[in-house]
């Protein structure tokens, strides 16, 4: 198995008590798969991703990437956040070169950066400052930066969440093309059902309180998927039903909280 997550639990201290955020997370992901984590807000999607990235340690359980245990962050796992997190003191090209500094010579790093900027179609902006780019362009640079260090897995935490609808749709196509070209394994966090169906080979639907995996749904639709709207709608309905209970649960919890205060 390429990436395996075994019996991961995660608790956070919360006002003196420990609150369980993730329960019994078991997940196996094949090389080259595009997997989405889908679920209501607060169900622990980001926490799962941060644990895979090594930014958080699980309270219990283990993770393995190519049979190597994950214990800390490393450049074998690239991450793209909701905010582009580009470094403002570096140019676009220098940002993409950032992870390459220790693994290759400067000239080679520059050529690699150029190659990945081409992949996201932003070569013309190599010498710009990040603040001169639109949000969508910044996010594409962040993708180029994460890919430039040739990670084995690309982790994406609602990478298009802060963008407008048109830009998001364009970037879906772009991400799909990049995925086909690079054959990367991608783990993609989203709370948009359509986004997940459009992009993923598999959708891991998560429930909340505590965060856990509800169902693992393979999406069996030919790509490009825009031509199969019928099938997409069916999946959407199925997932909608599944999540309805969860969303009700969140709303109920909110209500209880509001009443008790």
């Amino acid at each position: 198995m390429f990436l395996s997550i075994n019996n991961v639990q995660k608790s956070f201290p919360n006002q003196g008590k420990t609150e369980q955020v993730l329960r019994d997370i078991n997940l196996n992901i094949e090389k080259g798969e595009f997997v989405s984590l889908l679920g209501p807000s607060g169900c622990g999607k980001s926490t799962v991703l941060n644990i895979i990235a090594g930014l958080l340690r699980p309270s219990e359980g283990e993770l393995y990437l190519d049979n190597q245990q994950i214990t800390k962050p490393g450049n074998d796992r690239g991450m793209v956040f909701q905010q582009a997190a580009l470094f403002p003191w570096l140019s676009v090209e220098e940002n993409v070169m950032f992870p390459l500094k220790k693994i290759m010579k400067k000239q080679e790093a520059r050529e690699t950066a150029q190659k990945y900027l081409q992949l996201v179609q932003l070569s013309a902006y190599a010498n710009h400052s990040p603040h001169e780019l639109s949000g969508g362009m910044q996010q594409r640079v962040a993708i180029a930066r994460a890919l430039a260090m040739s990670p084995r897995v690309l982790l994406m935490d609602e990478p298009f969440g802060a963008l407008d609808e048109q830009t998001r749709i364009r970037l879906h196509d772009e991400l799909e093309r990049i995925w086909v070209e690079t054959k990367k394994t991608i783990i993609f966090v989203t709370h948009s059902i359509q986004e997940a169906i459009k992009l993923s080979d598999r959708i891991i639907v998560m429930g909340t309180q505590p965060g856990r995996i509800l169902q693992d749904i393979p999406i069996d639709i030919e790509r490009p998927r825009e031509k199969h709207l019928q099938q997409m709608a069916q999946y959407e309905e199925q997932i909608m039903k599944l999540l309805k209970n969860e969303i009700d649960k969140v709303a109920e919890e909110e209500l209880k909280y509001a009443v008790s205060n």
Partner: protein, 255 residues
Amino acid sequence: MQLAIKRILFFIGLFALWELAIWIFSIPPVILPSPTTVFSSLFESLADGSLLKDLRASFSRLLIGLSIALIIGVLLGILLAKFKTADETLGSLILALQSIPSIVWLPLAIMWFGLNEKAVIFIVVLGGTIVMTINMRTGIKNVQPLYTKAAQTMGSTGIDLFFRVILPASVPYAVTGTRLAWAFAWRALMAGELLSSGPGLGYTLKYASDFGRMDMVMAIMVVIGVIGVTVDILIFQRIEKKVMIKWGLEQKEAA
């Protein structure tokens, strides 16, 4: 443009009123010199080169003092931000020192260094160091966690993370710290020169006052004020603005 016109009109009006008041109430020049005499002694000191000499002396002290202050401030700020124990102990001392105007150290400084250049530079260093330290500490503590997280996922840790991410990310605070350090150092320098030995702007001011040349005193006050404002606006505020925009902390004004 309108702003400039408003300001020019304001100052012309102010000087006219001032001149008029002196003429109407026949105020003697040792109490308040008239603007015309102030400006004529300003030109006089410009013409005979004494002003330039004073400026050069003052600025060389300032540059030495400020440079030392900035270096110490950056290092201390890093120390306080990175080591909790240092922050809890040395940090509290620095906060306490902040409320003491640096000029009150002059008697001690004169005992340590003698009535000379060094004592004044010491006051300037003290004046600049503390604000720089405090700003640098805040800057390093306030680096967005997103930057450090992103860097970590790209394999950057420890010293590498510090020099390539934390330090550059805190540049906006360092710039603000430098600007404030300049302002404090400039005030400290003038106070120090006033009470110490020459040459220098402060010293000449004191000298003029001993001879009752209030027109000269005010001329030097004008120079001190103009330099203070000009350096702040022309150099520091510009740099600060550019950095803020580049670091995404401030939006560009809509054109």
